[in-house]
């Protein structure tokens, strides 16, 4: 009994869809790395490049949407194929949001000074690295259909919350040291928040992948770390 669809074009359409999601994921990942780099090194030259790659990511999004519509109307997918189709829809939505957040962060580099405190940058970098790793892991688990890895990413959201808390603390500290820093701090707060939200989207993707593989939703609520008191 072959594992491929009897109708070859169905097999190809499904493969094409999955590949598009993977490519979109890679783009999103490299964009996030660039964006993080730009923030830490306060590199204002790379902003344009990042904005351009976001356009690419959006193009992928609409391409994937079209492919999904075609698949649904042509193939009336069942079981694993249905989950695969719906998952690629949800994942591409989350990836697009992550791309937007990376772009937003890159834009925030423009007004930043070049002499931000080491500790602040260090905390931000740690948060950023973790989020990037999460994205890398979740994309990995998508490619390899690795349930355990996806579940790990889902659970690690707690760490993201914790690191966000720490980074936020340094920014607030920076703000309190000098009233001149208000402008920069606002940007930095947003940048930190964006990273946390990127993490949430990555957790969404992890949940979607778990559903894709097992056919059931993850039980229980997401693990939550420390939350900043508003």
């Amino acid at each position: 009994m072959s594992n491929e669809h009897t109708v070859k074009s169905y097999e190809e359409e499904l493969r094409y869809l999955i590949d598009s999601v993977i490519k979109m994921g890679s783009l999103t990942e490299s964009q996030m790395v660039d964006s993080m780099d730009a923030v830490i090194k306060v590199d204002k030259d790379s902003i344009d490049k990042i904005i351009k790659s976001d356009e690419e990511i959006n193009k992928f999004r609409s391409k994937i949407d079209t492919q999904i519509m075609t698949l649904l109307v042509k193939r009336a997918p069942m079981a694993i194929d249905l989950r695969e189709t719906i998952s690629s829809l949800k994942i591409s939505q989350d990836l697009e949001r992550i791309g937007d957040l990376s772009k937003s962060n890159a834009k925030k580099v423009k007004p930043l000074p070049l002499d931000l405190p080491e500790e602040l940058l260090g905390n931000l970098k740690r948060l950023g690295d973790l989020v990037i790793k999460q994205l890398n892991d979740v994309l990995d688990s998508y490619v390899n259909k690795n349930y355990d890895k996806a579940k790990e990413v889902w659970e690690k959201d707690e760490q993201v919350d914790d690191l966000t808390y720490i980074a936020m603390e340094s920014v607030i500290d920076f703000l309190s040291k000098d009233k001149k820093n208000l402008d920069f701090s606002t940007h930095l707060i947003f940048a930190t928040k964006n990273l946390e939200r990127a993490g949430d989207h990555i957790t969404n993707i992890a949940e979607t992948i778990c559903f894709l593989i097992k056919g059931e939703y993850l039980k229980g609520s997401r693990p939550k770390g420390k939350v900043i008191q508003q």
Partner: protein, 256 residues
């Protein structure tokens, strides 16, 4: 918690042989009351053979041998002493190709009740004919031409006529062997709508080649392959997330 319908038909260790060739292997399947159960599987997998066991239609095939138990409401029907005629009064059947009798529409419906002594006077029969045609959603279309031959109707109408004919003897179970395979999409939709209504009164078992149809009309689905019941369960589960890989391969079109 969901309300489970009670079991109407139980098959246990059902084996069917056509001469030397075995067509069904140890089938254990429960069918619930007032529910639609769909049977799916590739050609020759035994699903038609299975439903034909439920009304002993396999008796007409000389070389067919059936062993095992089938109970309807607790009564064993594979008993040699069972009166098949009264069994078929309780378990009706609709076939793949519509086969109305070459008689008038009225006579098509009234034949069953007449031979079972269900309608003695003309007005009683009139009532049965009207109510059966109404239940089959055909009354409005044919009420002015009950004397015309049943074979003069369109394919979809003929099939609804056959459904009305099956209903006319007031059965408890209706077996449908690919009832829509010879019909166009509009006729198919009308019959699916009908099945939705009918399941409130009758237990329905439907064999279908259309996966989409099985999903639309049934609450429970059984997947057969090469004479074995591979998987059975709630329809939504079977089509969203089946347990068995073979089931998944079949419904996604990965069967070689």
């Amino acid at each position: 918690m969901e309300l489970m319908n009670s079991v109407k038909i139980k098959s246990k260790n059902l084996n069917v042989f056509y001469g030397e060739k075995q067509a069904l292997f140890d089938v254990n399947l429960d069918l619930n009351e007032k529910e639609v159960t769909a049977l799916i599987g590739p050609s020759g997998c035994g699903k038609s053979t299975f439903i034909r066991c439920l009304n002993r239609m396999n008796d007409v095939i000389d070389i067919c041998k059936v062993t095992g138990n089938i109970e309807i409401d607790g009564i064993e029907i594979n008993d040699k002493n069972l009166d098949v005629v009264s069994l078929r009064e309780r378990v009706g059947m609709v076939f793949q190709k519509p086969n109305p009798f070459p008689k008038s529409i009225y006579d098509n419906i009234s034949y069953g009740p007449k031979i079972h002594g269900k309608g003695e006077t003309k007005s009683e029969l009139d009532e049965i004919v009207e109510s059966s045609l109404r239940k089959a959603a055909l009354w409005e279309e044919v009420k002015d031409r009950l004397d015309e031959p049943g074979t003069g109707l369109s394919g979809g109408q003929q099939q609804r006529l056959c459904i009305a004919r099956a209903i006319s003897v007031n059965p408890e179970v209706i077996l449908m062997d690919e009832p829509c395979s010879a019909l166009d999409p509009i006729a198919t939709a009308k019959i699916e709508e009908l099945i939705d209504e009918l399941k409130k009164t009758y237990t329905i078992v439907i064999v279908t080649h259309s996966m989409a149809q099985a999903v639309r009309v049934s609450q429970k689905t059984g997947f057969f392959h090469l004479g074995k019941l591979i998987e059975v369960g709630k329809t939504e589960k079977i089509f969203k997330n089946p347990d068995n890989k073979m089931t998944q391969d079949y419904i996604t079109g990965r069967f070689g």
